[in-house]
Amino acid sequence: MAEAQPMVPPLVIPQEREASRPFVQVLHDWIVTVDHKRLGIMYFSYGILALVIGGIEASIMRAQLARANNHLVSPEVFNQLFTMHGTTMIFFAAMPIVFGIANYLVPLMIGARDMAFPRLNAWGFWMTAFGGIILYFSFIGGFGLYGAGSAPDVGWFAYAPLTSPAFSVGHSTDYWTIGLLISGFGSIATGLNIMTTILCMRGPGMKLSRMPMLVWLYTVTAFLVLVAIGPLTAAQLMLLIDRFLGGHFFDTQAGGSAVIWMHFFWIFGHPEVYILVLPAFGVLSEVIPVFSRKPIFGYNIMVAATIAIGFISLSVWAHHMFTVGMTSYANAFFVASTSAIAVPTGIKIFNWIGTMWGGKITFTTAMLFSVAAVAQMLIAGLTGIMLATAPFDWQLANSYFVIAHFHYVILGVIVFSVFSAAYYWYPKVTGRMMSETLGKWHFWLFLIGFHMTFDFMHIPGLLGMPRRIYTYEASRGWETWNLIVSIGVIFQALGVLFWVFNVIKSYFKGRVAGSDPWDAWTLEWMTTSPPPDYNFAELPVATSRRPLWDLKHPEDPDWKYE
């Protein structure tokens, strides 16, 4: 070990912006790029754009639901809104953001110069992007039950037989199916790329046991992508066969089963949410140690817990189907498997606490978002436990309680982690620091808005309010809660505006970051900010899990303890 040449962090060179080139030239370079960093930025930006669009769709729905018997939008439009909101957020916001972070960081963190298959990487991005365009083309080109300009309105999980030609006339459902089918191919390509990169492209000294937690999380994520997207692709092909070739996969009139669509969809759908959340866990496992000034507590157990979550997540899907009338044995099995996944998830939460414990915590904006994400994961996990107990789920399923629960995970954990990642790695990507003042405004506004909306959203669910309803009776006693929920959206939107402003302003006016602004320890901080095209002048040697710590503390390096 002592033979390895120590890598001296490169000199800080003030980042020179590219000399102005014709815009067409710049655009061309971005469109044909196969560089993982650029593709990462493109994936991430696409995802954020979709997040904003999905957020607008949600805001309209919340405005409609703020009052009972409201007439802001018609049921046709509302039903399209919730379908497009869910589909956009999962497939065109969250997935691209997840893939964007992977693309940018994984090669840097393992000491590689690019992903294993750069051209496949680009293909995957463009397939995903194209899929989104197809989905949104439905707004102008779709022809559905209600005439032209009809986006899909069958819900983001498109249950049969509502999607059959009999009940979904026209092509609005086909835009859902085909848009997702195409982006699914892109996702599989990216999953393949991430897995191969991690297995084959690690730099010198980067044993599996020295990989950063983020990279481990992405290994399991990539595995889930490879295994879980297939069932959705298969189900969508079957749906297309039903709709275009007269097939009977989900045709209940011909003896087909509506329930089998649910099985196929959720065999995809549940691992999908782990595909979204595991990278968030990875971000937390990178940010929290740095701002606690301690290594991640229990690295080996964290890796084991991640792998456990990956495997168990393949066995829990029918907890989305507790109300479908499965036998008591089937229901009991899924209660068991779903509850079981709480154990490794809880272990992760405890290990993050263990990381902070005994540390010296600085509350940068990145750390604020991460700590909030941990607390919110606790709450989301507990409401998940409630939903896991099937009889309780017989009341809570398909109600606003479920919506509150999964938004708690997706917004409260995943989006909070994404914001944390944005503040943490923005200096690496752009070479500039973001404003901490604007960041704090973003955090507090978003935190207040998030809790206003999603804490209170549990209550209408407990009071009997089902999901996917465009309006409700005033006598039900749901109105006040819905109003509070809707008002929270305003704070969240303001918070996001602060962030967008921060992103743009900091790019031009932010303090120059240098290669290692946070005094961190993983390989990406051993190159310039932003990194050169080839990532590292000389591939750094990973001497431990925290190679940069070893260099900064030659008297007490990590490899002595691993």
Partner: protein
């Protein structure tokens, strides 16, 4: 290159925010208790106001689960709060790194074993209630109902009595010493629906080409509300459920009334003619007449119901008139077409409908 971003939080706005949050919390608890925990049938279908055996079973389980979750929350959240307060970097701190702890096997073991035990307990509690509800045995005096979900209304048949009605379900109250549950077979004529009356039971879906079942055993008289809980199309939101729990005597009176064929009266002959010469009879049944349509609700005893359009509007003359003239005004997108009748025909028709007691 290191950059230090140690901005201390201003304590004053923080304690104000804390007080505000506490205040909101209490207001929430009080307001919610009023609606959420109401005793007896309520227009707010809270899952915490159970009035039927399966709902009670679920309620008790839910209290147990929530108590466990609350306990876990208090412990873990306190740890999070403690760690971020106690271990924050203070201005007086030097730049030395804290002790670099990599982990602890004992601690890991503890916080693996304890959650496993909790999970086992929760599983057993859940399994017990699953069995109690799903594998329940029914006494011979169980009332049998077949519910068929349609876009966007409920069809209820009582095979033992030979009656068919729509949208409003009547069941007898059940004495705890002599249980008289109602067992409902759940079918669907078109797409997926879900039967959810929170105070009476958990929800079970109605799925085409599949037989599901649910049962209720209400302990209090009154009117319970619910609605379809599985997205079924454009008017999923207004596929409401109204369940009336009657005394056994009132229930049998109702059954007798429903068994009668439709009342006939010469005064409404004109309206009946309108009904039978337009497409109404293609979709609706009025027993004792030539109208035998099955696509829409049975109208034989329309006036025995408190609402029309599956709960979307109260059953009044004005609403009936509006409904016949323009269903989209009450339930936009529903499958009943506007029949394009002139006012004279509409009035006659409504008069006829209002005679169907």
């Amino acid at each position: 290159m290191r950059s230090r971003n140690c901005e201390r939080q201003n304590s004053k706005p923080r304690s104000l925010a804390k007080r505000a949050l506490v205040a909101i919390f209490f207001v929430t608890v009080v307001a919610w208790s009023a609606t959420g925990f109401a005793l007896g049938p309520s227009s707010t279908p809270s899952i915490f106001s159970p009035d039927s055996t399966p709902a009670h079973d679920i309620y008790h389980l839910s209290l147990f689960v929530m108590a466990v979750c609350l306990g876990i929350f208090l412990v873990v959240f306190s740890l999070i709060a403690y760690s971020i307060v106690k271990y924050r970097k203070k201005a007086t701190d030097d730049d030395r790194e804290p002790p670099q702890i990599y982990g602890s096997n004992q601690v890991e073991l503890a916080w693996t074993v304890i959650p496993i035990l909790i999970v086992v307990v929760l599983f057993l509690a859940a399994a017990r209630v699953i069995h109690a509800v799903e594998d329940a045995q029914f006494p011979p005096n169980t009332i049998e109902v077949t519910a068929t979900g349609h876009q966007f209304w409920w069809e209820f048949q009582y095979p033992a009595y030979g009656i068919t009605t729509a949208n409003e379900l009547h069941v007898p109250v059940s004495d705890r010493s002599h249980p008289a549950p109602t067992h409902i077979m759940l079918l669907s004529a078109d797409t997926d629906h879900s039967f959810w009356v929170p105070q009476l039971a958990g929800k079970i879906d109605l799925i085409p080409n599949r037989r599901n079942e649910i049962w209720v055993e209400p302990h209090d008289l009154g009117h319970y509300v619910g609605q379809c809980a599985q997205y079924c199309g454009i008017q999923h939101a207004k596929m409401l459920l109204n369940v009336f729990v009657d005394t056994p005597e009132d229930f049998h009176k109702w059954v007798q009334q429903q068994k009668e064929p439709a009342t006939t009266s010469d005064q409404v002959a004109a309206g009946r003619k309108v009904f039978e010469t337009n497409a109404c009879m293609n979709c609706h049944t009025i027993t004792g007449t030539i109208s035998h349509g099955r696509f829409g609700p049975d109208l034989t005893h329309l006036m025995s119901r408190t609402t029309i359009a599956s709960g979307a509007a109260p059953n009044t003359q004005d609403n009936l008139t509006l409904w016949v003239k323009n269903p989209d005004a009450i339930k936009p997108g529903c499958l009943m077409p506007a029949m394009q009748l002139d006012d004279q025909d509409v009035n006659a028709l409504v008069a006829y409908l209002m005679s169907l007691h």
